[in-house]
Amino acid sequence: MSAKAKFTNALIIAAVATLSLSSAAAQSDKIKTESGATPKAAGGADAKSAAGDVLDRSKVLRAAADALGMLRWSDVGAERTRLPAVDVVNRMEIWGSGTSYGFGEANKSGVPGPASKIEYHVALGYNPPAMRVEMTRASTGGTQPAEGTPHTIQTVRDNYAWNESESGAGLEPGRGTATPVMAAVRERLLQLWILPYGVVKAAIAAGDKTKVSSENGATIITFPLSGQLAGVTVRATMDARSFVTKVETETNNPAMGDLVMEADYSDYADHGEILSDLKSPGHIVEKQGGRQLLDIQVKMADLNNPYLVFPVPDNVKKAAAQEPVAVKGDATR
């Protein structure tokens, strides 16, 4: 065979090889794009390591975050940048209605207090940690009269807790009253961190201290809280879709008994008027020390990091300087 013929044959062999490799690569890509596009596939059943039974903490937390839609990226106008997935949840608002329960007979565990039909509105943020809970009592539904005023606004931010006579009270002369409630800081912060997003954020932040396990087919995440809530342990139960369905807190410190909470979450959906692909629970039930506290049906949520701010009024800052955060129940609830 001449040199020219040898070159021609070599070229043909190279082309065939190239085509084969291209085809294989294309098939590989096809496999990649077709395999499991659901959050469940990203975590869920895959959250078990090759060993079979031992749950992989990172995969479990990833699956929980993906189920809620927390980890996101976007290539709109990204050009040569491909950023990783980041936790996009910071600020949100939730509107609902339901029942609030006051303190029952001698505050006995398991004994429901007087019930009030309420309209519920919560505005919250995780950076900085802050929450403004607004409840409007419509009527009493129990056998005892409703406690408290018809309309309450309970706010917390970092190390400050206060009640507002109106949203933003105490920030400008003549605009309402801000009443410091330093004793409520921990309890109100806990409300923030036992929401599904708070659970996932805090569990990720706890790093190696977060443990995952499997009980009766359900995945359990256990981790300690930190900062103001040090001493509180959170135990969260996830369903087969990796949604947080139950959160329980416990503490070994008897002085922190008011921080023993329980919350149930169900009916997850994107409740936004402007869709965000973030899921929020449609039904929220909270208990404190075994006593029913809240039962809320969510009507709407704005999860698109809306404009929400929680500036601390000067009189609250002054009060905080004189009164360190105490571990007491929130008597203003």
């Binding site: 980890l71 106008g77 040569r80 940048t81 491909r82 980041v86 996009v88």
Partner: protein, 314 residues
């Protein structure tokens, strides 16, 4: 057709089959940045005969800072340092970061919804007076109809961001902001800013404009541009519904370090804000080509808004 003739045809086909691979091999591998960290300065900072830093140049090394979420996240103070690390510059908070879920290919709607969240997740926000909180939220939620920069209106100062071109002269500076489209369909705009020690015109003698009346001075090696005399037809940030009054006062600071330009803007507006607000510093990179020129701006033509059927927006 003889053996060699047929083989020549096959060889030509074979060569064509190999061509894409060869072309791909010649292109540098497509390196996709996984961070949006501010660029590290390099090179000397040139100076004018008067001894001031020379800010002249084409400042578009990171492309249009109105464009995609990576730049907008950086503008909002969200710095992605790598595939497992993100932080909020303003608060210092660490933000959970994971590799992309490669099993999930996002469609356009998912990309846009994610971008809406990513652009707003930063902690550094102006604090409005409480009576305006609901208004700001509503403006942002209804930005498709409410954003004054839609329909090719000027972005105004300081929303317009870092100029893509600065021409520095002893007694004035020229800023040019090409209308590159991007997040909002804005016009090209320019500013000619005196640097001769003059004072502001009294506010009551000014007719409000989109960019206001600007004067500049040097504060050490930092160029300070002081503007007032605005109309109320702009928002002062790219997203968020951040409206302002005609009494807005904006102080911009430009600092060059080698091939980087750092810009911050402080907005004072006691009519609507509880306190002055300073944006997270933004850093732009000098175009590495010393012969770089600004491209011609695309004509601004807004054709989408009339067809929107939901409130989803940038």
């Amino acid at each position: 057709m003889n053996y060699f003739a047929s083989n020549r045809i096959i060889a030509v086909i074979a060569a064509l089959c190999l061509l894409p691979g060869a072309v791909m091999a010649q292109e540098s591998p497509r390196v996709l940045r996984t961070t949006n960290s501010p660029p590290t300065p390099s090179g000397p900072t040139p100076r004018t005969p008067a001894g001031h830093p020379d800010l002249s140049g084409v400042w578009d090394g990171l492309r249009d800072n109105l464009l995609g979420p990576p730049n907008q996240m950086a503008n909002a103070g969200i710095v992605v340092d790598g595939v497992t690390s993100t932080r909020d510059l303003f608060s210092g908070a660490q933000i959970a970061t994971f590799p992309r879920n490669t099993n999930h290919v996002q469609n356009y709607e998912e990309d846009e919804r994610a971008a809406t969240l990513l652009r707003r997740m930063g902690s550094n926000r102006p604090i409005y007076k409480p009576e305006y909180w609901a208004m700001v939220k509503e403006l942002d939620a209804n930005a498709n109809e409410e954003d004054p920069a839609n329909n090719c209106m000027p972005a105004g100062v300081p929303r317009v961001g870092i100029p893509s071109y600065i021409g520095q002269f002893p007694t004035y500076v020229i800023f040019i902001y090409p209308g590159l489209g991007g997040l909002i369909a804005t016009q090209t705009s320019y500013r000619m800013i005196p640097l001769d020690g003059r004072k502001h015109t009294a506010l009551q003698d000014l007719d409000g404009t989109y960019n206001g009346e600007a004067i500049a001075h040097w504060d050490g090696d930092t160029l300070v541009v002081d503007s007032w005399g605005f109309n109320t037809s702009t928002w002062f940030e790219q997203v968020g519904g951040y409206f302002h009054s005609e009494n807005m006062h904006v102080i911009e600071r430009f600092h060059r370090d080698g091939n980087t330009l750092t810009w911050t803007a402080t907005v004072e507006d006691p009519d609507v804000l509880l306190e002055p607000w300073t944006m997270t510093p933004r850093v732009q990179l000098l175009n590495p080509d010393p012969k770089a020129v600004l491209p011609e701006s695309l004509p601004c033509s807004e054709r989408d808004l009339a067809h929107t059927v939901t409130k989803e927006h940038h």
